[in-house]
Assembly symmetry: C2
Homo-oligomer: 419 residues x 2
């Protein structure tokens, strides 16, 4: 059998476990040195391929690669860069082939979300259109959990756990302050157009009255009057109200709540932050003292409280991607297949990339309760296994020890390329 | 020896480990049943004493009390309520004595920060002025770390650890996104007028270039020009810039940066949030893409990533408070005494309350580097041991198992009291 090199790149927003996937890819490739030569990583994602800025992962020790499993973020750098259609930017695709040829790359592993799946699909089609033999495998990753076909997405379980743990802890805090001080607490979480991350906050509530009392999902149009009534009822019934709000929350005009025209002292638009908007609304209309938090990157980088299930799945899809490649597959993505929820059992499946690219999976209606402010038992059954298990990184002097790779570049062989 | 009951109350903002102190108080008291009858806890702090709303902690199992050690927030409720001077509100102090008498309370344990120390001092003086024998012991607690005499304050070590871990993780995230996306990340932390919490973020940086690159302390007047130059240099040198900013940051006029007159779309003042102000400034002046986070309650409630040192010290001051009471002490506070930094060794000392009440300990100048944007080696030596060690709570189904006490009330014996 012939032996070619592999290319691996991280794409889009990073997660607490995308490096566990990188670890799965590299460790598995190293076990098949008869078939796979080196694994080159793109420095800053696909940009590294276009600009021939390749990292030679063979220069990293087994120990450093193993440490990727417990290191958050993208060890090789990621990017937000979407290749256009073949017609619109043929020169970019031609450049990719040129770089692949120059470095004898026969396997293309692209680790990202929906946009990346689309890019990967296009690369997979180059094999036919150009005659250059390249097998393109997409590896799922997104905290937003919005990829279709796969039961869930690596990266989501850990942010879900972070959000559930955080709102439970902050809920305890507010409960103890509510008598004379803060009565309403608002925590903003990520998720874009999909409410998966916000919904995960609901796992913290095990019995009626437990926080969070309200979850504001992008799938449900924000109704100010009903929301305020619910806040008031929660404060009356439990003494306080803990709220999880998704950054993607919109009003009935389709406007983001976080973008309703707030201005700073100089009249400049104040970007981002739906939590302060919700908190100020509560204060204005109901007079309650409030606090708010915006977790932002903290939530998706929180490897210290990662889900063990998530880490294992992130590793498994990386490993499976290499196995698929060795089986001669092209234009596929490993998926997570749920075999049972209680007890939780899963395996790795495969799907054609054409089924994944540019499809966004939102929360199904039956995961959202009638009022629209909480999750159903069905949703809980789905979410619960994904946050299960702890997988702590090693600590030294009180801090988690994350690896920083050497990231030694490969000498370019081609002329520079204008991005 | 006579046997009397004890009163314990939690005051002010709660922490990840104030319940560990409660655990220390109650477990130690239970070991001395010959001298201490019951431990009554104030429901919602001192308000519980004034309103004769006492919780009978003897109704809680040993297991539930032990679980307080790993449960964040105030298990009996806290409050923000400061008693005025004896002259101004004599009726409140008289009421306290009345409640103490009615429930045979001879020991008063007050668990809080600077304000509470003042209240506790006044209560300790009641013994002389009223002839009613009460021993008042203050037990230190504050995430702000701003109490004098004691080397550090229980509650601080855990929030310090949370902040250092979080900015390390978010720093890794930004580093991997910086090529095409976010270049500047701003994380806002607590600490009021003292920069201790923000300074703790500096522990994440072990070598030049590590995040955070800038720490904005309330002890250093914000200089926009120098700040922007430093941001630009960091982005040029390292590709990105991670910033920790204290909520108490002020400009040269003494104004809080978080309160520079931001208005929402309706013209209402938008409260809180120095992080978005800093982020917007960076974007406006330098054009960098940014993200920001406001950790708020998440940081002080984060028992899941508590410092083991902090948990042990929180327990120890609770235990010591009871021992001091049994030794006949009044008007004192247990302190943490540092005997050595490397290796870290500490013991429990005692100080007179008069030395503590209403004194605020800020960061010493030699803990802040020359530029004013970072911490010195001396500061690092001070902070490092305080975040050392992990002390994970038990988990079930992916979530930490925190205890909710029964909190059974004691039947009131007196007439109601108007607060």
């Amino acid at each position: 059998m012939s032996k070619t090199n592999a290319f691996y790149a991280q794409s889009g927003g990073v997660t607490a476990v995308i490096n566990a996937t990188a670890c799965g890819v590299i460790e598995t490739a190293r076990q098949h040195k008869d078939r796979i030569g080196k694994v080159f990583a793109g420095r800053n994602g696909i940009i590294g391929a276009l600009s021939e800025d390749l990292i030679d992962t063979s220069r990293e020790s087994a120990r450093a690669i193993a440490a990727l499993r417990h290191t958050p973020s993208g060890a090789f750098g990621s990017c937000r860069y979407k290749l256009k259609s073949l017609e619109e930017s043929r020169h970019e695709y031609e450049r990719l082939i040129e770089v692949f040829k120059a470095h004898n790359i026969g396997f293309f592993f692209y680790n990202g979300g929906g946009d990346s799946a689309d890019t990967c699909l296009k690369v997979s089609q180059l094999s036919n259109s150009t005659g250059y033999p390249i097998q393109a495998i997409h590896i799922p990753k997104t905290v937003d959990n919005d990829l279709p076909v796969t039961d869930n997405c690596p990266g989501f379980g850990s942010v879900a756990k972070y959000v559930a743990v955080s709102i439970r802890e902050a809920g305890f805090d507010v409960a103890s302050m509510a008598k004379t001080s803060t009565k309403v607490f608002v925590m903003e979480v990520m998720g874009r157009h999909a409410g998966w991350i916000a919904a995960a906050g609901g796992l913290a509530a095990e019995k009626p009255g437990d926080p969070p009392h309200i979850i504001l999902l992008p799938e449900v149009v924000f109704n100010e009057k009903r929301f305020l009534a619910k806040v008031e009822k929660s404060v009356n019934d439990y003494g306080y109200c803990a709220i999880v709000v998704s950054e993607g929350l919109r009003n009935r005009d389709g406007q983001f709540l976080s973008d309703v025209g707030t201005r700073d002292a100089f009249g400049h638009a104040q970007l981002g932050g739906v939590a302060p908007v919700i908190a100020a609304l509560v204060n204005r209309e109901l007079g309650y003292k409030y606090h708010w938090a915006v977790a932002d990157y903290l939530q998706r980088a929180a490897r210290h409280v990662a889900s063990k299930t998530d880490v294992e799945q992130a590793y498994a899809v990386g490993k499976a991607a290499v196995q698929f490649a060795l089986q001669g597959k092209n234009s596929v993505m490993p998926t997570i297949v749920r075999k049972s929820s209680k007890p939780y059992r899963w395996s790795i499946g495969a799907t054609r990339l054409a089924r994944v690219a540019n499809v966004e999976k939102k929360m199904p209606r039956n995961f959202i309760d009638k009022e629209g402010f909480g999750i159903t038992a069905r949703c809980r059954t789905y979410l619960e296994p994904l946050i299960k298990g702890e997988d702590y990184p090693p600590y030294k002097d009180g801090l988690p020890q994350y690896v920083q790779l050497k990231n030694i570049g490969v000498k370019p062989k081609l002329r520079p390329f204008e991005l």
